[in-house]
Amino acid sequence: MSLSGQPRLELHELCSRLVDGTLSEPQRRRLEEILAVSPEARRVYVRAMALSASLFDYASEMQTEAPERSPRPIPFSAAPPWWWAVGALGAAAAIALAFWLGGLSESGRRLESQPHEVVAHLSGAKDCQWAEATLQPGAPLQSGQRVELAAGFAEISFDSGALLVLEGPASLDVNSAWEAVLRRGALTASVPQEAIGFRISNAAVDVVDLGTEFSMVAEENGATEVFVLRGAIEAYPRAVSSDPARPSVVLRETQARRFDRNRVAEVRNREQKLLRFVRKVSLDRALQPPAFVHWPFDETEGAQAAAEAIGFGIRAVAAGKATPALLPLPAKNVRGEDRGERKAKKDPLLPSQAREGETDDSANGFAARLAGSNSSNLNAARVPGQRGQALNFDGQLAATALLPPFVHGTPRTVAFWIKIPPDAGVAESEPILAWPLTSDGDTMEFSWNRAPNQGAFGALRTSVGRGFIIGTTPLRDGQWHHVAVVFSHTLRGPQKMQARQYVDGRLDHVSAKHFTKSKVKRLGGEPRLISNGGEKLSMGRRPNEQGKTGFLGTIDELFLLDRALSQKEIRMLMLHNRLPSPEPSVSTLGAAAKALSPPTPATL
């Protein structure tokens, strides 16, 4: 019997389900039946299983540098030619994401796990009494940190975008940007699309979020009740009686289950318990709107592209045209002080060219100056963008602008839209953006990675001097991608920074990173300007690099902000080109009104 067409497709589907553990009992019987009568089917089956066995083998060889497991050494001669391109990817989930900008080690060695990596922060609090160290809103939380809340409410924002509101008394271990352990107490989790896969576990159950809002209550004895308020979750009970063939329970909106060490059961008094999660709680937050410079690339006249700046003491408009204020940010900070006015008071941090009110050429302030090899480059530079117009770099075009007065060692965010042709060559991978860091020629650069032996080819690469971090999402596909790189403090010491890369609003996994002892440190221990008036932001090539082929691609809506944005703010910037309004002080613990309807049987 020869297999072709539908029977062959059916067999492939059954084999795939078998391998992925989703084969139902009727499908198992069907597979057995097919294999019993058809030698050809048996050959197809054996090839399918052998393929998976080979993939286990190759994937195991490719997995390098996982800090919690010693990888098997790969003899170089035995490694397939592409191992270097993927090897680092295998380690991505396990390697900590921190990227130290200074002070750790010489000459770019591979990062190992970073227990001090900051993975979340306390974004809101109400009547908090802490069992151990007191935390203030805005406090960073590092990997492995235990949060012991004796009373009150604490809102924790994870870098993945997941948001937990913890109700004391409670104990939570912050494991990573993607995982937490609820040891005891109650929490409500809100997980956006970009953080699907976020996991909360404890001794009774692992809950994997499928894009939802849910609550968990962990009792002292380990028993845990899970209520789905919106969306769906997948729960993996740890009960000894769990059916190994059906290891998970999918709970959908309004459903709830109780998990303990022995069994999975319905929740008693479900509706009464749900009332706990519809209370409104007023949270204290400590976030002020960031200062920023924004290049929309919509107003380009001649060789200049307009910018707008808020909070840096200047609203710069090129060529006399008013740039629409795309960000309806409040002009006043939390102290009621106009940030622009504050900075305009001869703030020594301001670059000399950027004083408010100057009318000479430098009054254009942050406007980008375009430079191409001939006038046709400049004419071709304006193309339809993600929003309005964008700036297209053809390899010849470059642009410079005044760098906002960032202080070294302070948090900041760089965000922009980028479109890179799929056939962009290695020679055309010059930095999308760059600026000088030291007089020795060290630069900060954002580019796509052209060195496959260092990390995922074509992924976002942020370089600081000789150190770098490389993501995993390919940018070189002819599509628009929103990119944000967030620099924030770590808990290792003053001026120790880490970088996070977000692509399309999602925290990008890291395929590789190197760190170096930064030369920036030599400049002295005092906070100082990265930009002191002379430095320029370069677009399309490295600073002061003429003659070489530059970056090939299009950029739009470039923002430089003086604060580490959260995933929620980055998403807002991506979707609406503006930042969220200041958070309402009232938070609902859960949109649980619908959950009060009669229970629907869960998929057990």
Partner: protein, 175 residues
Amino acid sequence: MNADSTPIERQKLLVRLLTQNQRRIFSYLYTLVPDRHAAEDLLQQTCMVVCEKFGEFQPGTDFVAWACQIAYWEVRAARQKFARSKVLFDDAALEAVAKTAEEMAPELSDRHEALAKCLEKLHPRDRELILTRYEPGGGVEAAAQRTGRTVVAAYKALTRIRKLLQDCVNLQLQS
């Protein structure tokens, strides 16, 4: 006295044969028991029996075939332990599949080699997904998360990628 017959030489031969062929034995076991952890447990068990019975092995004969015979009986013996969800087939089906796998051993080795080239040709995003799915400690969820897909989309993509790889391997072997 044959050099291979001294105890030290026999031990060296055993280590070499096991090291060289462990993957093939695992592949055979996984075909009979398509559960990674169960197959790994069985591999460990099989290796212990191979060590114990190595005195019966005739150098120069097919070591993989000999070890797979041992593996087969380990699977049969483990039926009680693993229950149907892991040892998928009844005895008759198990025997038929095992026989097919033994007959296809040379082809499967070629397919394993060809797969390296096919993985190289995959789109990086697909390659990342499939390798994350199969890496130690990985799985469909981890692969979905790492590549920014939903779990459902990841299942579909994995089915598609496996099909692509099979077609590519077939093509490689034909040429």
